[in-house]
Amino acid sequence: DAGITQSPRHKVTETGTPVTLRCHQTENHRYMYWYRQDPGHGLRLIHYSYGVKDTDKGEVSDGYSVSRSKTEDFLLTLESATSSQTSVYFCAISRGSRDEQYFGPGTRLTVT
C-alpha cells in the first residue's frame, strides 16, 4: 500500500471558520492531488501539485487554497467553510501526471 495519510479523518466545523486538511506521503511522488467526493458527482479535482511550491487549480477550486512546502506534505485550506463544502475529501499521489494515482483514506468534513 502506498504510504499516504490524511488528517484529520473526521471533522465537524461551523460555517465561516477556516479549516485545513493535511495529506502526508512517504513515497516521494512528485504529483499530489486533492479531490472531493459527493453523491452523483464522483470524484472531482480541487487542486493539484506537480512539485514543491508548484500548484494549479482543478475543476472545483473556488473557496479552496493549497500549499506544498515539502515534497511529502500537501495542505488543503477552506478559507471560510460553507455548507456546500460538506464532503469527503481524498488526497492522491502519483509518480507522473498520467500515471495511476494512489489515494489516501479520506477525510469526512461536515460544515454546520
Partner: protein, 113 residues
C-alpha cells in the same frame, strides 16, 4: 457537462458469473483510461488501465475493453466474487488535458453469494 459517464448507478450479479461495468465518454481527446475500486470508508484503489492504442487489457480476473469509435469502455470481472462488491469508478485523461483525470460518478457492484 459530464465528460465521463457511468449510467448504471448499481449492478447486482451472482457469485461466479461475469460482471460488466460500463463507462462512456464524450471527449475524443481522451487517450488513457483507468478503473478504480472503492470500498466504504476507504480511498479508491487502482485496478487496471488501458491506453487508446489498445482495445483490450487483461489482469487476472479483470479485463478492460475500449471501443474508441463508440467512446465506450467496459470492465469485465470473471468470475465475480463477493469481495468484488464495491463502487467502481472509471477515469479518463487527455495528453493535453488541464485537469489530469476526469472521473465518472461510479457504479455500485453487489456480488450475491
Amino acid at each position: 457537462d459530464q465528460q465521463v459517464k457511468q449510467n448504471s448507478p448499481s449492478l447486482s450479479v451472482q457469485e461466479g458469473r461475469i460482471s460488466i461495468l460500463n463507462c462512456d465518454y464524450t471527449n475524443s481527446m481522451f487517450d488513457y483510461f483507468l478503473w478504480y475500486k472503492k470500498y466504504p470508508a476507504e480511498g479508491p484503489t487502482f485496478l487496471i488501465s488501458i491506453s487508446s492504442i489498445k482495445d483490450k487489457n487483461e489482469d487476472g480476473r479483470f479485463t478492460v475493453f475500449l471501443n474508441k469509435s463508440a467512446k465506450h469502455l467496459s470492465l469485465h470481472i470473471v468470475p465475480s466474487q463477493p469481495g468484488d462488491s464495491a463502487v467502481y469508478f472509471c477515469a479518463a485523461s487527455a495528453e493535453s488535458g488541464t485537469y489530469k483525470y476526469i472521473f465518472g460518478t461510479g457504479t455500485r457492484l453487489k456480488v450475491l453469494a
